[in-house]
């Protein structure tokens, strides 16, 4: 095999070096065998090799006869020719370079990285669900429709709203859907309005979503306690404001306790209150956005309801609304008629609908998993989820606040944000701490977000982590803080254990290499 990954074979040299047991981190991290693996395109043979077993093509299926020859292509030369075992080894080895929830603690703030139940995978693969075509005649798809209808009802109850659409593909599309409905609502009353108010703690998708809807974003400063204050809203609120987008608890893990008053202020001027539900995990069974003055809210089903999204997705972003906004829900809508269910697909039946957001009905595969989780938890389980998520975060906070700077003394709910302020003298940054945690055996927290907190370290343990695990994480965080004092360079040199040391992001952006090409070089 050539040497595309740039490692230098050097067996003799290294072998001669004195053998010693590698360091072991608080999370048990040590070193073991790993394997360099070239790109698929750098593998395989020039020949007829193939990793699938397909039926033969009937002889005499002469293509030219019915397809324009100028549009035909032969086999794509740059594609590799691999056999099944080669592919199995490739992905088995690649996977070992990854860290997932199944590997260990993954306190990535704002992402609610909780355990994804394996049962759900078996359920989502039941042939009736997995093989259902989205355009099945309704009488052949009653199972899908029943499940969607029941999930909609459950989500409406959990969030305290009148109705829910399951369609959106992820949180951001849920936001898009919600703001579109807000816009449609205002339009229906004559004027779409121009502005959307967004606190400075908000996730980037909030302003981006507003912009996509043609709204001008007015950023509101949070108070010294990390909360949005009524005054700030009152000052910015006017008849030209379509809505305010609030995340509650916000991205600092702090409950926006003035939410009711803020909602009043906004409603008084005819505006609507959008709830970014990405942090709903904190409130499950304890409080409901629909009871706080929110008019519309998206769920991040893949976070709060534990649907797998390995590598960055898929998500699912259902949107719940009040009665007033229900007419604007996107299509399709599942309607129940006795024991039968049907899909309302046409604007003729829902003239005020904002229309369609997906080619079909949403990420059904995720609906199955989320519904299964809700059914296994029941009311008590859901409430315990919120309570234990908040307990874990507060425990971490209590155990670390003496060594890491806590920018806000305000109560935390499901996550806690620290900063690298205390480490500054040593020159060690949040990024260094994050990388050093890898050598201890933990996935780093979210870093440098929210933007209002310089050097933020955002820790969200979730309810599926045990006290033992959190105690080990706390030990690691404290070890790193100690090491910053004794050996800052050691911290900056991290990580040492993974198959790759710190990667050069500047180089990647300066000369983008975004795909393989024959003879590809990275320099």
């Amino acid at each position: 095999m050539a040497n595309p990954t740039g490692w230098k074979p050097s067996m003799e040299k290294a072998a001669a070096a004195p053998a010693e047991a590698p360091e072991v981190g608080a999370g048990g991290a040590t070193r073991g065998l790993a394997y360099e693996e070239p790109l698929l395109f750098e593998r395989g043979s020039a020949g007829e090799r193939m990793g699938v077993s397909l039926p033969p093509v009937q002889a005499g299926a002469d293509l030219a006869s019915d397809l324009p020859s100028e549009l035909l292509r032969g086999p794509i030369a740059e594609l590799p020719a691999l056999f099944e075992l080669e592919v199995v080894r490739h992905f088995t080895r690649l996977s070992a370079w990854n860290y997932g929830i199944d590997t260990g603690f993954y306190p990535l703030g704002s992402c609610t990285m909780k355990y994804n139940p394996k049962s759900s995978e078996a359920l989502a693969r039941l042939p009736g669900f997995a093989n259902a075509h989205p355009l099945l005649p309704e009488e052949l798809a009653q199972g899908s429709l029943e499940l969607m209808w029941k999930l909609e009802r459950a989500l409406s109850e959990i969030s305290g709203f009148a109705a829910t659409t399951l369609t959106p593909a992820a949180g951001a599309q849920g936001e898009l859907c919600g703001v579109m409905m807000i816009r449609a609502y205002h339009l229906s009353r004559g004027n779409a309005r121009r502005k959307v108010l967004i606190p400075d703690t908000a996730h980037g998708t909030n302003p981006a979503t507003s912009a996509l809807n043609g709204y001008e974003v007015v950023q509101l400063a949070s108070g010294p306690d990390g909360r949005l204050h009524p005054e700030a809203v009152r000052a910015a609120m006017d008849e030209d404001v379509a809505a305010i987008m609030i995340t509650n608890p916000n991205t600092l893990g702090i409950f926006e306790s003035h939410i009711a008053e803020i909602a009043e202020i906004v409603h008084a001027k005819g505006g609507l209150v959008y709830g970014d539900g990405a942090n709903l995990n904190a409130l499950l069974g304890v409080a409901r956005p629909g009871d706080m003055g929110f008019d519309v809210m998206q769920f991040n089903l893949h976070k709060t309801f534990a649907t797998p999204h390995g590598g960055g997705g898929p998500g699912s972003g259902p949107v719940a609304v009040t009665e007033a906004l229900a007419p604007f829900l996107p299509l399709p809508v599942v309607a129940r008629e006795g024991e039968r269910f049907r899909l309302v697909q046409s604007e003729r039946e829902r003239p005020q609908s904002i229309g369609k957001l997906r080619e079909f009905h949403g990420n059904f595969g995720m609906f199955v998993r989320a519904y299964a989780l809700i059914r296994e938890y029941g009311p008590e389980g859901l409430r315990a989820t919120g309570q234990l998520a908040v307990l874990n975060a507060n425990y971490v906070r209590a155990k670390l606040k003496d060594v890491y700077h806590l920018p806000f003394e305000t109560d935390s709910l499901h996550e806690v944000v620290f900063t690298d302020k205390a480490l500054k003298p040593s020159g060690v940054t949040t990024m260094d701490v994050a990388k050093r945690l890898i050598d201890h055996g933990f996935h780093p927290p979210t870093v440098y977000f929210p933007l209002v907190v310089p050097g933020a370290l955002m820790i969200e343990p979730t309810e599926t982590e045990s006290k033992e695990t959190i105690d080990r994480f706390v030990t690691a965080m404290r070890d790193v803080a100690d090491q910053v004092k004794t050996d800052p360079e050691g911290v900056k040199a991290a990580p040492e254990k993974p198959v790759r040391a710190r990667l050069d992001e500047t180089r990647a952006a300066r000369k983008p290499v975004l795909r393989w090409r024959p003879g590809m070089k990275v320099d």
């Binding site: 693996e37 499940l147 043609g214 990420n363 507060n394």
Partner: protein, 445 residues
Amino acid sequence: MRYHPHTPDEIRDMLAAAGATSLDDLFRSIPDALKLKRPLDVAPALDEISLFAELRRIAARNATEHPPFVGAGAYPHHVPPVVDQLLLRGEFFTAYTPYQPEVAQGTLQALFEWQTFVCLLTGMDVANASMYDGASSTAEAALMATRATGRSKVVVSAAVHPEYRRVLRTYLAAMRDEVVVVPYGADGRTDLTALEREVDGRTAAVIIGYPNFFGVVDALPEAARIAKKAGALSIAVTSEAVALGLLKGPGELGADVATGTFQSFGNGLQYGGPAPGFFAARESILRQMPGRLCGATRDKHGRRGFVLTLSTREQHIRREKATSNICTNAGLCALASTIHLALLGRNGLAHLARLNHARGRELRAAMERAGFGLRFSGPTFNEMAFEVGDAEAVVSRLAQRGIAAGAPLARWYPDDPRMKGALLCVATELHTPELIELFARSVRG
């Protein structure tokens, strides 16, 4: 609770450490008036055995015994079991967006391989790390075109998937961008004269299906030429990506952007989602692209590695100035496609595409034997519209036998009298010649 590790003792100790007197006390920052004073009104908890019984009951209410003869944007294909067994590996399955590249090289290299597969199949220079689906990807392409050209008119062929067009309208509504639809001819292809007429100096993009909604291989080269002449971007939309194993990539035919879905590779039907939307374009448009991009670099020892890059386009940095609001994408679905494409490879993809085309021809022959002709005369891949008289009646009749017959085109084209009896059907490697013959006969009844 098998997912909640906390024992009563641990809860007590942790509360003490956190300085709280009870679990409720942890929520003191929530005004009492805003709290829920009752248990949620959801069904009581189920143990795993009962849970399986209940979901099996529900799943059994779907009829999925026979492979459907309907495609129309979602295609029944065989997914080799090896795909799923690799996909389920926890290190892939339970990792999120690779924000920390040193512990995400597996995800990142696989994304880099995905981006390469998309480029090779579409004939484009660059591709992103995936989109929600084909429709939103196409809508984002149109938005990108309006930004890139500073123009606001989007011309779309009526032969582009109608649901894609609905999503396009939803996305563009807010920007007050103008969507113009041009008709198709008797061959099921876009009417080029009409297109030529509509595309002008105000046109940002021309959108055309490839193959289009009728399964017809549309006039992409001509459409691309018309767009280029007017300084507009041409966007080719593909929902049956297997066709790209037999047909030249949109990029080779002059398209500037290629969008659609790779659902056909490694992703089951799942009642319509999730599946990986793809977005590919020419190098020149790179910095206008939505979504995540994975790029190659080196680590401090000089070893090749991968990272997310050019993120200054994205919402988490650019906020309201971002090229899109997309954050979570369809990573796992893209991985499934990547694994399936790796298995297929050069030879398998070509074979699969030829096989699908051949099955389409068998369907056509069987339907002709049964007395049903083609609705459109244009060239097709594995999907085509037949003239069956009363399409809705055929669908209900076959539904009684548990067979999904096809998509009655009149549902989307109520005003086109030609569509009254048009039934859109597909045949893939899952439809054996025997099954196809049986189907054609049942359509006759």
